[in-house]
């Protein structure tokens, strides 16, 4: 029997798994597809913790401030290449070249370093998919009126056949290439040329570069190259700041974060079961006895002492919505569903964002009458009710803190 089975391989599921496995627990993570982190930027938001912790029913009201901060520190311990101070915002660039704030971001993302530059060079890798250099330059110029913002193309040999074939190059592929010996060498030469040319100018230089992070501190692969992550290595070698932009999904940095979390989990003895769906659960007197997993050819039954529902809400299919309503798919847990679902202002408050499972302080699901619905199930991350990641900008915080708490309770 497993100590815990976690349903969902996004941020909260992986953090739950790692923190439990670190304490010697046998843990299985089941995920239907690739981690949802592949679709995220790699930067994490905690939002205005003080305010949200005083917003009725918000998940932060169940998690103490101390715990939320502990999960923040815990993540930084797992990933030394991340930067961020508790309670302070870090600037990062959006894929359009606008400034936004984040709570935790890879050091290479830190965009405040652009603010003192007299000259900003936006590197435009040839054929990079979903990358719009002229828009980025215009936006940066608007935000940095004192600087001269220009673009500089880079066209590595490696991708010449791609360009000939008319195939755009994904950020993930660029990042993976830069991280090879050949890529590192050509980047080194490229930056060397920039350094030389810019010396002629009196202006202080900063460089903006898209899709650089192929991997983070990763116990399985980092050991293979004594050097650290690529952006950190570059930064150590050049005299000007190199700022990586966040990107549209699927992103290199998000994928690097997901991969590193999975490797950490597996190195601790955890097992990942990917590409299958959890179709239901056998329940008996308020407890889950086992869950049903659809493997190829047959349904397998898996039992554990604890089950963690980290299945990601409506976006990831953990909550299914149709014209009759919303339903939690594995345990059939009661959901909080607002009376009216949508409002007219597209980017404004949308009540459906708060659909989810209401839980107690130990993350156990509650019935509408406040009683615990299932004793040995914990609910984390986007499956929790009463929060809106887009408006409150606390997606990373809720997922990390609830995952960290669940991992500790296993």
């Amino acid at each position: 029997m497993w100590d815990a089975v976690i349903i969902g391989g996004g941020l909260s599921g992986l953090v739950t798994g790692i923190s439990a496995a670190e304490r010697g627990k046998r843990v299985l993570i089941i995920t239907k597809g690739a981690s949802s982190l592949n679709y995220a930027t790699g930067a994490l938001d905690f939002g205005d913790v003080q305010r949200l912790a005083n917003t009725p029913k918000h998940p932060y009201t169940l998690l103490s401030n101390a715990l939320i901060q502990k999960s923040f520190t815990y993540f930084k311990r797992l990933f030394p290449e991340y930067t961020g101070k508790w309670g302070q915002a870090t600037d990062v660039l959006t894929p359009f070249g606008e400034f936004r704030s984040a709570s935790l971001a890879p050091r290479g993302f830190e965009a405040s370093r652009l603010k003192s530059a007299g000259r900003v060079l936006v590197i435009a890798p040839a054929g990079l998919k979903d990358f719009f250099p002229s828009l980025i330059i215009a936006n940066l110029q608007r935000s940095l009126p004192m600087a001269v913002v220009t673009g500089l193309p880079v066209k590595p040999e490696r991708f010449a056949p791609w360009l000939t074939a008319g195939k755009s190059i994904q950020g993930v592929d660029y990042a993976n290439f830069w991280d090879t010996a050949m890529g590192r060498q050509s980047l080194g030469q490229f930056f060397g040329r920039i350094e030389k040319e810019m010396k002629k100018e009196a202006l202080s230089l900063a460089v903006v570069f898209p899709s650089l992070s192929a991997r983070f501190c990763d116990t399985s692969t980092a050991a293979m190259q004594s050097s650290g992550s690529l952006p950190d290595c570059i930064q150590a070698e050049v005299s000007f700041p190199v700022v990586e932009m966040t990107a549209f999904p699927p992103t290199a940095a998000g994928r690097a974060l997901a991969t590193a979390l999975v490797h950490k989990f597996k190195d601790l003895g955890g097992e990942l079961l990917q590409g299958v769906e959890v179709t239901g659960a056998d329940m008996q007197s308020g407890e889950c006895r086992r869950i049903l997993v659809q493997s190829k050819g047959k349904t397998i039954r898996i039992s554990a002492r604890h089950y963690v529902l980290a299945s990601g809400g409506t976006f990831s299919g953990g909550i299914e919505v149709d014209n009759r309503g919303a339903a939690e798919k594995v345990f059939g847990l009661p959901l909080y569903v607002p009376d009216d679902w949508t409002r007219t202002e597209f980017l404004g408050e949308q009540p459906y964002a708060k659909v989810g499972v209401e839980v107690d302080k130990n993350l156990r699901p509650l019935r509408p009458n406040g009683q615990v619905a299932v004793n040995n199930v914990m609910v984390t991350g986007r499956m929790l009710a009463h929060w809106d990641p887009w408006l409150e900008k606390c997606g990373g915080g809720v997922s990390l803190a609830s995952g960290y708490l669940a991992g500790g309770l296993i």
Binding site: L28, K32, G33, A34, S36, N38, Y39, F159, P161, W162, T164, A165, K167, Q170, V172, D173, N176, S220, T221, A223, M224, P249, P250, R255, V262, H263, K266, G269, E271, L272, L273, Q274, G275, V276, E277, V293, Q294, S295, K296, G297, K298, I300, S316, G317
Partner: protein, 410 residues
């Protein structure tokens, strides 16, 4: 093989165009002429349904590793779409001679095992390599696995130790597959010994090739012919509830996911009654029915999870079980696809692609070997093992040998 309208509609409607599959596709990452699973699959499918075929060479580049399906967050069966399109494209057209040869692994195997020593010497001759390259468009560097004496040589089923012994009630059917039959008899013998050690009589009917190589090389009718033949042989055993055991992940995947699509009675049972060897042993272990008198085995191995084992949706049962053997230390390599994909990497125009796909895995295997992290690599798939040895020089073996050693059976 049938594909219902519902399956089609599901696959088309559930693709949200996120591009996650293309970001993970090992072939798209190295081949500028392959646009990736999203475009070759669900995107082009909408055109194909309207009678418009987009560039049909796309289809040939899909190696059917199924990474895209593990990645898809919405369960789209992308390789089903691609396979159907390949089938339609092939129609009554002639397959190249090379593909006809590669599809008949069983015929070549029977020829090759008549005098294995001679076959292996001849295959190593550069003249043979040149002829194979010129006439059949095989790569001169293709890592053909060596032939051994055949595993199931006689006309009768395998007569194991337990056969005829009084009191033996437990029986399993073993589907060895071509690799074990012609290239790896010692693994076949180890599988039988391990099962017999646990009190099973092992029945090995005279199966034909599972059909995967024929389908992979465009012979769809031939593949389904093989499947029907094998299902007819399985029928009486399936009816008595005997489990079918596979030790090759591709055979296993075919039995679990492809055979059930056929319109014969045995097809309804084969999916649920087929087990990967370690999936079966783990089930016994869970039920307290596995012999756990493991001797201490002092061995550090790297483990490569084959794509078609991942695609079965059973996790990594060999790692799970073998980590219970004292002294065995397993590092999961987790470095992607080996690139060979059965016979994909043997082909002249694909050899280099296959080597590039596998380069990360080879580097990881070499690194682990050279630093003393492990002395050999284990993996269930014979093709993966052949390619890993070819690309990294590290010795490989099927994980069953470690268990056989723990049982003192070697």
């Amino acid at each position: 093989m049938k594909n219902t309208r519902e399956e089609r509609a599901f696959n088309l409607d559930n693709c949200i165009k996120c591009g996650g599959c293309t970001a993970e596709c090992p072939v798209a990452a190295v081949n500028p002429l392959f646009p990736g699973p999203k475009l070759a699959g669900p995107d082009a499918e909408r055109f194909r349904l309207e009678g418009e075929s987009l560039d049909s060479t796309w289809l040939d580049y899909c190696s059917n590793c199924k990474t895209c399906e593990l990645t898809c967050p919405f369960g789209v069966r992308i390789t089903d779409i691609i396979r159907r399109a390949k089938e339609t494209k092939r129609g009554n057209g002639k397959a190249p001679l090379r593909d006809k040869v590669l599809g008949r692994v069983d015929y070549i195997g029977r020829l090759g095992t008549i005098w294995p020593g001679l076959t292996n010497s001849v295959l190593r001759l550069s003249l043979t390599r040149l002829a194979l390259r010129k006439v059949l468009k095989f790569s001169s560097e293709a890592p053909f696995p060596a032939y051994q004496r055949r595993f199931v040589a006689g006309k009768e089923r395998y007569t194991g130790l337990n056969r005829g012994k009084s009191g033996v009630k437990k029986r399993v059917v073993f589907f060895p597959g071509c690799f074990i039959n012609y290239n790896d008899r010692t693994t076949g013998e180890a599988v039988v010994r391990v099962l017999e050690h646990n009190g099973f009589e092992v029945i090995i009917p005279k199966f034909r090739c599972c059909g995967v190589p024929r389908e992979a090389n465009g012979d769809f009718a031939g593949a389904s012919g093989n499947a029907r033949y094998n299902l007819a042989l399985m029928q009486p055993y399936l009816a008595q509830g005997y489990p079918i055991i596979t030790a090759c992940p591709s055979c296993g995947l075919a039995l679990k996911a492809e055979y059930p699509r056929l319109d014969v009675p045995a097809a309804k049972q084969v999916g649920a009654q087929t087990y990967d060897l370690f999936e079966f042993l783990w089930k016994l272990y869970r039920q307290g029915e596995l012999h756990t008198g493991f001797a201490h085995v002092d061995l550090a191995v790297g483990y490569h999870a084959p794509c078609h084992l991942k695609a079965q949706g059973i996790g990594t049962p060999s790692v799970r079980l073998l980590s219970r053997v004292l002294g065995v230390k397993i590092s999961e390599l987790d470095a992607g696809c080996c690139g060979l994909s059965g016979s994909f990497g043997f082909k002249l125009e694909k050899y280099n692609l296959a080597m590039q796909i596998g380069s990360g895995l080879f580097a990881r295997a070499k690194y682990g070997f050279e630093t003393g992290e492990f002395t050999l690599v284990c993996s269930e798939c014979g093709a993966c093992r052949t390619q890993i040895e070819h690309g990294s020089g590290v010795t490989t073996l099927h994980p069953v040998h470690i268990l056989a050693k723990a049982y003192g059976l070697t």
